[in-house]
């Protein structure tokens, strides 16, 4: 009795159960199965995100304005033409949206309308911009005057003779870098070779919002440091759905980090359950987005699940490894108390042993 009471008290004194979110990939696994498999933790099954990417912003350079600029140019209304394509912010945004074709058209009409208005210097700057962005001359170039074509050709020629300037991009680690609306294959921190002049740099990273920067690059070198804002869970959910939902590396560190943000989960377990080929279980534990433990088992998932979760949570130091009873000090305290109680009971029994005395005449 005493032993039982002490052991119950020992168990009651254990640390509180950690709360952990669990996502399950592959075969279905019920909340009851999770509860039964890891009684030392409070597992909460949550669904995998299945969110669509947020709808893209409307085109920064509406076709109507470009068409209106062309019409104004044809009508020799160069002021009206320039008004339609003068918005630098829209040009930057368009390159941020990888809309290089419309960016090239805007710059073409800037060159053409400036030339038409007799403003040769602004026309040359716009042509140089076209060349610095490495934009292809749009098909409409055939509908402008030869003088305009000459300005543009000269700008491309001058750009070809320019030396590249190193541009160091840093800030949020592992962000993909796009330059002037084109992917570069570079991830931060990295260095790009760019022509002198204005450039549009866009940085993207999982779990972060994308940022577009317009910067002026001049010799001998330039640098750009950008810390991307952390993505809201909704954006992270959309990013995860798009990149990892059907990907084989969904249990990778990047995926799990993104998923932790998407699910607002400080502690996240991703379970991969395969029933085929005798069954296989894989699990990864992330704490504050960082993977802290992995575990894997082969065999019937229902049978292996408790062991797998125990391995994972012990490695992740969320629960303590189960210590054999005989190595717990309280066990020996309980044993000693029990022995003392039994000794006292036996002594009491013999001292107060029931006696039956038969009395008879002699």
């Amino acid at each position: 009795m005493t032993l039982a009471v002490v052991l119950v008290a020992t168990l009651a004194a254990e640390s509180p159960r950690p709360s952990i979110s669990v996502v399950v990939r592959g075969a279905e696994l019920s909340q009851q199965a999770l509860d039964a498999a890891a009684p030392a933790a409070l597992l909460r099954k949550v669904p995998l995100p299945n969110a669509a990417e947020p709808r893209g912003a409307p085109p920064a350079l509406p076709q109507e304005r470009i068409a209106a600029a062309r019409k104004a140019y044809v009508n020799a209304d160069f002021a009206q033409c320039l008004e339609q394509v003068a918005d630098d912010a829209a040009l930057t945004a368009a390159l941020g949206q990888q809309d290089r074709a419309n960016a090239a058209r805007v710059l073409l009409w800037r060159v053409a309308c400036n030339v038409g208005a007799g403003k040769l210097e602004p026309a040359r700057r716009s042509a140089a911009q076209l060349a610095a962005f490495s934009l292809q001359a749009p098909a409409e170039v055939g509908s402008v005057s030869p003088e305009v074509e000459a300005v543009i050709a000269r700008a491309y020629q001058e750009a070809g003779g320019m030396r590249a300037v190193p541009l160091e991009v840093s800030g949020t680690a592992d962000a993909a870098v796009e330059l002037d609306g084109r992917p570069t294959g570079c991830t931060t921190p990295c260095t790009l070779e760019v022509l002198e002049g204005s450039h549009v740099v866009r940085l993207l990273a999982d779990g972060h919002e994308a940022v577009v920067k317009l910067l002026r690059v001049s010799a001998p070198r330039a640098a750009l440091e950008v810390e991307l804002p952390t993505a809201a869970p909704e954006l992270a959910a959309a990013q995860w759905s798009a990149r990892y939902r059907a990907a084989p590396d969904a249990d990778g560190a990047s995926s799990v980090r993104l998923l932790s943000t998407a699910l607002r989960s400080a502690r996240l377990v991703m379970l991969n359950v395969e029933q085929a080929s005798g069954g296989r279980l894989g699990a990864v534990l992330a704490i504050d987005g960082a993977v802290t433990a992995r575990a894997e088992r082969s065999g019937d998932p229902a049978t292996e699940l408790p062991g797998l979760l125990n391995d994972l949570l012990v490695r992740g130091q969320l629960i303590e490894a189960s210590v054999p009873l005989y190595r717990r000090p309280l066990f020996w305290v309980a044993i000693a108390a029990s022995v003392a109680a039994i000794a006292a009971g036996v002594t009491t029994f013999f001292v107060l042993r029931p006696v039956e005395t038969r009395v008879s005449f002699q």
């Binding site: 029931p354 006696v355 039956e356 038969r358 009395v359 008879s360 005449f361 002699q362």
Partner: protein
């Protein structure tokens, strides 16, 4: 079977003891059976009316031998005075569940007999009780065992709340004893310095061991 097991274990743990009671090797504890009343007649003669003549002396009368364990509520001394004083201040009470009444025969029409010869005759009758059980499990507290002989029948005794003092013919009692700890036979006797001890007999027979004139 499952219910019987703990009971068997308990029984196995119980210590069984045997304690005998006697009136002394030569019947010296039988003075309470040799009392005379105020008129000088032996109280045994009270059995005379129901006496059974078996062809002449010695005559035997029908009596009832009643054994009672009396709870004293403590452990007083053994002398009569001590017992009477104790019971006047404490609650001394026969434990009704321990009473056994046994019909037997005792000498009667004995007035004028030699005292020691009469003692021997009474002892001879009581020896017939040898081996008879007084109780299978003596009380666990200090008690005195009282053996009382009366001319009343066992039925009449069971129906009455007290003994008829005019029919008492003998009494003996033990010292206050814890029978569970008794290491030898318990002696039953009657303390008197004179043969005129009928009053002592009444006290002995009283349910609360108190003297009532």
């Amino acid at each position: 079977m499952k219910r019987a097991l703990p009971l068997l274990l308990l029984l196995a743990c119980i210590e069984h003891r045997e304690v005998g009671v006697n009136f002394g090797e030569t019947g010296e504890g039988l003075d309470g059976f040799l009392c005379k009343d105020a008129a000088g007649r032996l109280v045994l003669d009270r059995l005379g009316d129901g006496g059974v003549a078996d062809g002449g002396p010695p005559a035997l009368g029908v009596a009832s031998l009643v054994t009672d364990f009396i709870d004293l509520g403590g452990l007083p001394g053994c002398r009569t005075g001590q017992l009477v004083k104790w019971c006047s201040e404490h609650r001394c009470m026969a434990i009704s569940s321990t009473r056994i009444c046994t019909p037997m025969q005792l000498p009667t029409n004995v007035t004028g007999s030699d005292r020691e010869a009469l003692r021997a005759r009474v002892r001879e009758q009581l020896v017939a009780l040898k081996g008879q059980q007084v109780i299978s499990d003596a009380p666990g507290q200090a008690v005195i065992l009282r053996v009382l002989a009366t001319g009343e029948s066992c039925e009449a005794i069971a129906a009455a709340s007290a003994f008829d003092t005019k029919k008492l013919v003998g009494c003996a009692y033990s010292c206050p004893t814890l029978f569970d700890k008794a290491d030898q036979d318990v002696y039953l006797g009657f303390e008197t310095l004179t043969g005129s001890c009928e009053q002592g007999l009444r006290i002995c027979a009283d349910g609360t061991l108190t003297w009532k004139p």
